[in-house]
């Protein structure tokens, strides 16, 4: 099982904004700072019908401000889940494929995360949604629809079911 420490997010992915992502991850996972949350990832390679199942552990940052968490707790729950899902999936892709967020753009109400390899090569656009429940399948279908409309070549959809500890990534092209 691979492990990723979310506190490394700023160094690894400076275009992600940890002050938002880290407390959102804590809230969505209903976890305490410094603890670990596990995710079972269903990874659909391009054209694949069946996923490869892998396990990942994410260690939450220890120094997340309690006030940031409280502020987010009062915010729109669905939006917080989407932000947390972005943190989870980008952390998994960082440890799994050495991909990181190169830049962020806006499309519809959501964010497009543009990925690059560590050597600087562009590697597609990622859209991620989060949900509360046991299964990310339904959400993944929504993300696939949304990411299809993104400009650019390689497209990646991600979904996370918080509570169920399940994540899914579908590489579309």
């Amino acid at each position: 099982m691979q492990t990723y420490n979310l506190a490394k997010l700023r160094a690894d992915q400076p275009n992600l904004w940890p002050p938002l992502v880290l407390p959102a991850c804590l809230l969505a996972c209903e976890a305490a700072p410094g603890t670990t949350s596990s995710f079972e990832l269903a990874y659909f390679a391009p054209g694949a019908q069946d996923p490869k199942v892998e396990r990942f552990s994410l260690v939450h940052a220890a120094d997340v401000s309690a006030s940031d968490v409280e502020v987010l707790r009062a915010a729109g729950h669905e939006d917080v889940l989407h932000v947390a899902a972005a943190g989870v999936i980008t952390a998994i892709l960082r440890v799994r494929d050495d991909l990181r967020v190169a830049r962020v753009s806006k499309r519809g109400p959501w964010l497009d995360l543009h990925l690059q390899r560590l050597d600087g090569r562009a590697d597609g656009v990622l859209v991620v949604f989060g949900t509360q429940g046991a299964d990310p399948d339904g959400v993944l279908a929504d993300v696939v629809k949304h990411v299809h409309g993104a400009p650019g070549g390689r497209k990646i959809a991600g979904a996370v079911a918080f509570g169920g500890g399940k994540a899914a990534i579908r590489v579309l092209s």
């Binding site: 987010l72 729109g76 753009s105 497009d112 400009p151 650019g152």
Partner: protein
């Protein structure tokens, strides 16, 4: 560094494409955080800042990710309530051989046409409110004048919940500076610099305002501006 609201920075580290990309990416996420947790005006201001840099990238780094930047810019214009900027983006597309005729342009043209008048109306309401304040400049009673200023600022802030943050913050800064409410004025200048970060008169006016109470901070603003814009940046005014 000039900071706004919960520490969001107005300027990138440098005016290079990678630093501006990073800054814009952060502003987009900070706007999302603001939408969840802050008054609408903060969300609109940060969205307007991200839009500024999206347009800067279109101009300074042409031919790369143009469609992505235009789509992102249009969404940010919607979030900022700045339909005039959306119109400029559409004009950019119409003049571009690569972007002209794309299906999204027609849909956005309809949205912009429907919403632009609202922005014009809001700006007229702001101007009328400001004229009311100016008309009272000879009112000898300071308390009455302050009350009127607060009343006009409250109306501007209401418009700031739904409209572009640029004219709203511009009005708020004029009134608060005229009243000598320096701390508030400084906050509104910071908001204006998020929205229009390279508009040199704002930088100069902000440092002049800071100099009234804290010379060190005024110098710091000038020095940061010099490092971003060059040693003689104020000559561009």
């Amino acid at each position: 560094m000039i900071t706004f609201a919960f520490g969001a920075e107005a300027w990138p580290k440098s005016l290079t494409v990678p630093d501006v990309e990073r800054h814009k990416s952060l502003l987009i996420q900070e706007a999302m955080y603001a939408r969840l947790t802050q008054p609408a005006m903060v969300f609109r201001t940060l969205s307007r800042g991200a839009l500024y840099w999206e347009r800067w990238l279109l101009e300074k780094d042409p031919g790369r990710c143009d469609e992505e930047r235009v789509l992102s810019g249009l969404e940010l214009a919607r979030d900022a309530g700045d339909w005039k900027e959306a119109e400029l983006l559409l004009a950019h597309c119409e003049a571009s051989p690569d972007l002209g005729g794309r299906p999204f342009l027609e849909a956005w043209s309809v949205i912009v046409r429907d919403r632009l008048q609202e922005q014009v109306d809001n700006e007229q309401r702001l101007e009328i409110a400001f004229q009311k304040f100016r008309g009272a400049k000879n009112v000898p009673d300071e308390a009455a004048r302050a009350e009127l200023a607060r009343d006009v600022m409250a109306r501007a802030s209401e418009i700031g919940q739904v409209g572009s943050p640029v004219p709203v913050n511009a009005l708020l800064v004029r009134i608060s500076a005229a009243q000598g409410w320096n701390e508030e004025a400084e906050g509104f200048y910071a908001a204006l610099l998020v929205c229009r970060p390279l508009w040199i008169p704002y930088i100069v006016q902000l440092s002049e305002l800071q100099a009234k109470t804290d010379l060190k901070r005024a110098f710091s603003t000038i020095e940061t501006a010099k490092s971003l814009l060059g040693a003689d940046f104020w000559l561009a005014t």
